[in-house]
C-alpha cells in the first residue's frame, strides 16, 4: 500500500462519519486524483471474502461491515427489532429526500395529512434534522441525515432515482382525474366507473 492509502484506511477506520474527498484532502494534504487512487487501493484490499468493505455513502467514503455478517454482529450490538419504518414514515422520508430543505407545512400539503408528528418522530430517530429556516415564512426547514442516507445506502439525496421515473403516466393521471371529477354524478351510475 502507498503511504497515502494507509493514511486513508486509518482515517476511514477512525471516523464515525463518512469522509468526503474534500475532507480527506484537507487532512492528508494530498490532491483529489491521488486520493481517488488511494481509496481504490483501500477498497481493493477489502474485497469480497473479507469482513469489511469500503462504501461511498452519505456524501463520503466509509468503512463498514459486509451485509452477510449482520446476524453475528447484531449479537454484539443489538439492532432494535422494531426498527421498521411505517408507510407513512417512508412517504415522509421520500418527500424530504426529493425536496430538501423543506418545511413541515409543505410536507403536510403534499401528503394531505398533518406531518408534524411524523416529522418529529423521524427527527427523534435521527433520520431527519432541522436545516435552518425558510426565509420568507420563517418555518423550520428539514433535511435528511447521514444516518438516513447510510440506511438507504445513498451517496446523497441526488442518488435517489429521478422523480420523473415515478410520475404517473398521462393515461394514469387521466384515469385518476376522470374518477375524481366524475365521482358524484348520478349519471355515472352508482358505482362510478369501478
Amino acid at each position: 500500500m502507498t503511504a497515502l492509502a494507509r493514511a486513508v484506511e486509518a482515517l476511514l477506520f477512525l471516523s464515525p462519519e463518512p469522509l468526503s474527498v474534500g475532507v480527506l484532502a484537507e487532512l492528508t494534504g494530498a490532491g483529489e486524483l491521488d486520493l481517488d487512487a488511494a481509496i481504490a487501493e483501500v477498497a481493493a484490499r477489502h474485497g469480497e471474502g473479507t469482513g469489511i468493505e469500503v462504501a461511498e455513502v452519505a456524501g463520503g467514503w466509509a468503512l463498514r461491515t459486509r451485509a452477510q455478517l449482520a446476524e453475528v454482529l447484531d449479537r454484539l450490538r443489538d439492532r432494535p427489532p422494531e426498527d421498521t419504518l411505517s408507510p407513512a414514515a417512508l412517504e415522509t422520508l421520500a418527500v424530504v429526500g426529493y425536496l430538501e430543505p423543506v418545511t413541515r407545512p409543505e410536507i403536510s400539503r403534499l401528503r394531505g395529512v398533518a406531518a408534524d408528528h411524523m416529522v418529529s418522530a423521524l427527527v427523534e430517530r435521527g433520520l431527519l434534522e432541522e436545516a435552518g429556516r425558510d426565509g420568507a415564512a420563517g418555518a423550520v426547514l428539514y433535511r435528511t441525515t447521514t444516518a438516513m442516507q447510510q440506511r438507504f445506502e445513498l451517496k446523497g439525496t441526488e442518488d435517489l432515482p429521478p422523480v420523473e421515473s415515478f410520475q404517473l403516466t398521462g393515461e394514469e393521471a387521466g384515469a385518476l382525474k376522470r374518477r375524481l371529477l366524475g365521482g358524484g354524478h348520478l349519471g355515472d351510475g352508482p358505482q362510478g366507473d369501478g
Binding site: 461491515t65 426529493y98 415515478f166 385518476l176 374518477r179
Partner: protein, 242 residues
C-alpha cells in the same frame, strides 16, 4: 414522547375492524382511493368508531386525533358527494368542480412520492446488512471556537419578526392543575377514599389528564396515596396521610 420512538404505533397503521374490511387503516384508505373497496359500502360511522373508538389503545394524542379526524371527514365528504351527487340535468357546482380538480392535481403531484416511498421501503429491506462503526474519535475534543453573541441576537430578532398566526379565534380549552388539586383536596376532605373514575366522571380528556396530574402531585407531596389494583383499571386515591 414515548410514541415518537421507533416501533410505537403509527396512527395510520392501526387496525380497523369492520364487517367489510379488517386490517390497517392506511391499506383501507388506499383500497378506497383505488376503488377496490366501494366507498358506498363503507360504513363511515363504524369506521370512525373503530379508528377513534373507546378502546384504550386507540387513544391518541390531540395532534394525531385531529389528523385522523381531518382524514375521516374527507372520506365522509367524498361519500356524501357520491351518494347525493349533483342532479345530472343541473350545472355542477363550480366550487365543487374546482375542489375536485385541486384534489386530482394534488393526488397526481403526490403519486411520485408514494411510489418513491415504496422504492425506499424495498431498499430498506435490501440494505439492512452493513453496519457502521460508531465509535467516537477518542482523545480530548478540540477547544470550541468562541460563539458570537451577535448570532444569538440575530436568531432572536428573526424569531420575533415572524408574524405568527393568531389563534385568538380558537376556542381554547383551559384546565388548571392548581384548580384540579383543590378539587381533589375537597373530594378527599369529604371521604377518605376517592375513585378516580367517579371523580372525573363526565369530564373531557384534557380535564381527565389534569386530574391525573393533580393526583400525582398530591401523591408526590405525600397528601394522598394512589392505588391501581388492576392494570388500566380505576385508580383509588386515599387521603388523610398527614
Amino acid at each position: 414522547m414515548s410514541r415518537a420512538r421507533s416501533g410505537t404505533p403509527d396512527p395510520l397503521g392501526q387496525d380497523v375492524d369492520l364487517d367489510l374490511f379488517e386490517g390497517p387503516l392506511d391499506l383501507l384508505l388506499t383500497l378506497v382511493l383505488r376503488e377496490e373497496i366501494d366507498l358506498l359500502e363503507l360504513p363511515v360511522a363504524a369506521l370512525v368508531r373503530s379508528v377513534l373508538g373507546e378502546r384504550e389503545e386507540a387513544r391518541w394524542d390531540l395532534e394525531t386525533i385531529s389528523e385522523l379526524i381531518v382524514l375521516l371527514s374527507a372520506l365522509a365528504e367524498l361519500k356524501a358527494r357520491i351518494m347525493l351527487g349533483e342532479p345530472a340535468d343541473e350545472e355542477p357546482d363550480p366550487d365543487a368542480i374546482e375542489a375536485r380538480e385541486r384534489l386530482a392535481a394534488r393526488l397526481i403531484a403526490y403519486a411520485p412520492f408514494a411510489r418513491a416511498a415504496a422504492w425506499l421501503g424495498a431498499r430498506d429491506s435490501a440494505c439492512r446488512g452493513p453496519r457502521y462503526r460508531r465509535v467516537p474519535v477518542d482523545g480530548m475534543p478540540p477547544p470550541v471556537e468562541p460563539g458570537d453573541p451577535e448570532a444569538l441576537r440575530a436568531a432572536m430578532e428573526a424569531l420575533l419578526a415572524f408574524e405568527q398566526p393568531s389563534v385568538a379565534h380558537l376556542d381554547r380549552q383551559r384546565a388548571s392543575v392548581p384548580e384540579a388539586i383543590e378539587r381533589l383536596r375537597d373530594a378527599l376532605a369529604r371521604g377518605s377514599e376517592v375513585s378516580f373514575e367517579r371523580h372525573i366522571g363526565g369530564r373531557g380528556p384534557i380535564e381527565e389528564a389534569v386530574a391525573l396530574l393533580a393526583a400525582l402531585e398530591l401523591s408526590r407531596v405525600g397528601e394522598a396515596r394512589l392505588d391501581q389494583p388492576r392494570p388500566l383499571g380505576d385508580i383509588l386515591i386515599r387521603g388523610g396521610l398527614r
